[in-house]
Amino acid sequence: MSLLVELSNVGRDFDGGRIVAVDGVSLAIEDDETVAIVGRSGSGKSTILNLVCGLDRPTRGEVRFEGRAVNGRAAWAALRASRIGIVFQNFFLLQSLSARENIEVALLGNLGGARQRRVRALELLAHFGLAERATLRPAELSGGERQRLAIARALANRPKLLVADEPTGSLDVQTSQSVMSIIGNAHREFGTAVIVVTHDEDVAALCGRRVEISDGRIRSDNRMTAMPTPAPTLRIR
């Protein structure tokens, strides 16, 4: 067990400082944790997630990954390409690409040749029950399939950290459970740390740690139960 991400007194302002989205947040996450960041809409939880994976830049404070301060777009991009996988509420799949290509696009630059990328993408699609959907565009997939594809893409480079911003926000209850099961499975099979931003207490309850955000600050930080046992059909290599 070692420290994976550390936010030290991080703040993020918008509109020239008139809006303080995150203020003085310090948070350390270990490499074997599952963390739920909860809070109301506009509480600043998604902004914290963006800062954790370098999608946004802190106005104040410092973000460290595996013990090293990360500065600059290129450094963050390199981390996201190899160490961090991101799942978004709205999937954020590229509509001009097929399901297979949506995974391959995350592998470009990390995995040698086109053939290797294709094999890896097909492998992931098969593991997520999407083998038959490889050539379809995202618009042709169901909501659950899209989210599974987004998770497959996030896990393509075998990341150390999987961050998910409201991963079940656009899904029905049954599909949400399936998605959380897949995320839990990734945690167990890969040893991937997981940070989930959610306003859904049921989803938060599946995580080992619950961080509550309000008005851009941490209101509580409690360790809870472990992630649920994954469904056997969704094992990930």
Partner: protein, 373 residues
């Protein structure tokens, strides 16, 4: 999937805009190819036309502004003829005029005793008889274009000429020219004491060294005048430099406009695809890779525009050369250098136009980009 997949899909997903931008580049390249090609074509046409007459060297006015303004005095004739190894010398007078006010045509006035008549390949009729100063031999192409036959009359330089022969030539210039007796043309142009140039034929057998030696001697005999082969002669005509400069300036402006079109298209594409760029950044695409993505789009459009432009340019030249007023004076001339210049342009202008949009794409914070859906 390769590095090219996304740029290609990006371009295909906006077919009309891509097409219009490619067309813009193509027109710029076509303009460049056509303008430079036609300019070079005029020069080449004159050189090949004079070369066909059998001259090895040409004596002309140094740095004459245009072809017909060159003036070499008649008095040089004897001195040039006396140069060792010179077989024959013929002064000729050139003029560009209209034939029956329907087509531009080159009139060449040849002395009746010129060696040039000997190699003429007559298809019909005869060469002008001595003293018959208002008779003409038309090149086969211009005769056909004007629908003229031996015995007909054609008006040249406001003077009716009787067609006494139709001749076939290998050069387009001569195929569209009118050969007339020198004396009549001198009168019409009031240039009794000068020629446009002298064509000098050297004795055979002949090698490069013989030509060089003869050239040195001719320079001595015609001090202050230009002595060279037909290509050197056409290169020394200053109007060709002027035409080239105009063509290049216009081409540069048009190409700069094409570059701006590329920039505009890609800037709009970057704005439209902010979300896609945000996703790529979120997936770990480095700023450099995103920059490359946009640049590749620019290069693809430019390359397509370049190829289409070269084809359009050639077609434009062919069409221009077929018009009545250009036939024979302009021969399409597409040099490897012209193609290389056009390609150099597209591979500079494309990425140059794409550079700013690409740079802007890399300046986006992924979170900002993803918020813009």
């Amino acid at each position: 999937m390769t590095e090219l997949t996304l740029p290609l899909r990006g371009l295909i997903s906006r077919p009309l805009r891509t097409l219009l931008t490619v067309l813009g580049i193509a027109l710029a390249v076509a303009g460049f190819v056509a303008l430079t090609g036609l300019t070079a074509g005029v020069q080449h046409s004159f050189a090949s036309g004079i070369n066909e007459n059998g001259a090895d060297l040409v004596v002309s006015q140094r740095s004459a502004f245009n072809l017909v303004s060159s003036a070499v005095p008649k008095s040089l004739s004897s001195g040039l003829s006396a140069v060792p190894n010179v077989e024959a010398v013929s002064g000729i007078l050139l003029n560009i005029t209209t034939a029956d006010d329907a087509a531009n045509i080159v009139m060449a006035g040849w002395p009746s005793d010129s060696f040039l008549w000997k190699d003429m390949h007559l298809l019909a009729g005869r060469i002008p008889a001595p003293g018959d100063q208002w008779s003409v031999i038309l090149g086969e192409s211009i005769a056909r274009a004007l629908d003229k036959r031996v015995g007909d009359t054609v008006e040249l330089q406001f003077q009716p000429y009787r067609i006494v022969g139709i001749a076939s030539f290998s050069s387009v210039l001569n195929q569209n020219s009118a050969i007339v007796p020198l004396e009549g043309l001198q009168q019409l142009l009031s240039r009794e004491d000068v020629f446009t140039l002298y064509e000098v034929r050297l004795k055979r057998p002949l090698d490069k060294n013989d030509i060089a030696v003869a050239r040195t001697r001719l320079i001595a005999a015609a001090q202050g005048f230009e002595v060279g082969d037909t290509e050197q002669f056409s290169s020394s005509i200053r109007i060709f430099d002027l035409l080239r400069a105009i063509a290049q300036t216009i081409s540069l402006v048009v190409m700069a406009m094409a570059s701006v079109a590329v920039a505009n298209t890609l800037l709009m594409a970057v704005n439209e695809r902010t979300f896609e760029i945000g996703v790529l950044a979120a997936l770990g695409w480095s700023p450099r890779r995103i920059l490359r993505l946009i640049l590749i789009e620019g290069v693809i459009m430019s390359a397509a525009g370049g190829v289409i432009g070269i084809i359009l340019g050639v077609l434009t030249m062919e069409m221009a050369a077929k018009t009545n007023f250009a036939a024979g004076l302009i021969v399409p001339y597409l040099s490897g250098w012209s193609i290389a210049q056009a390609l150099i342009f597209v591979f500079i202008a494309g990425p140059l136009g794409a550079l700013y949009p690409a740079w802007r794409a890399t300046r986006l914070l992924p979170a900002d980009a993803l918020r813009r859906i």
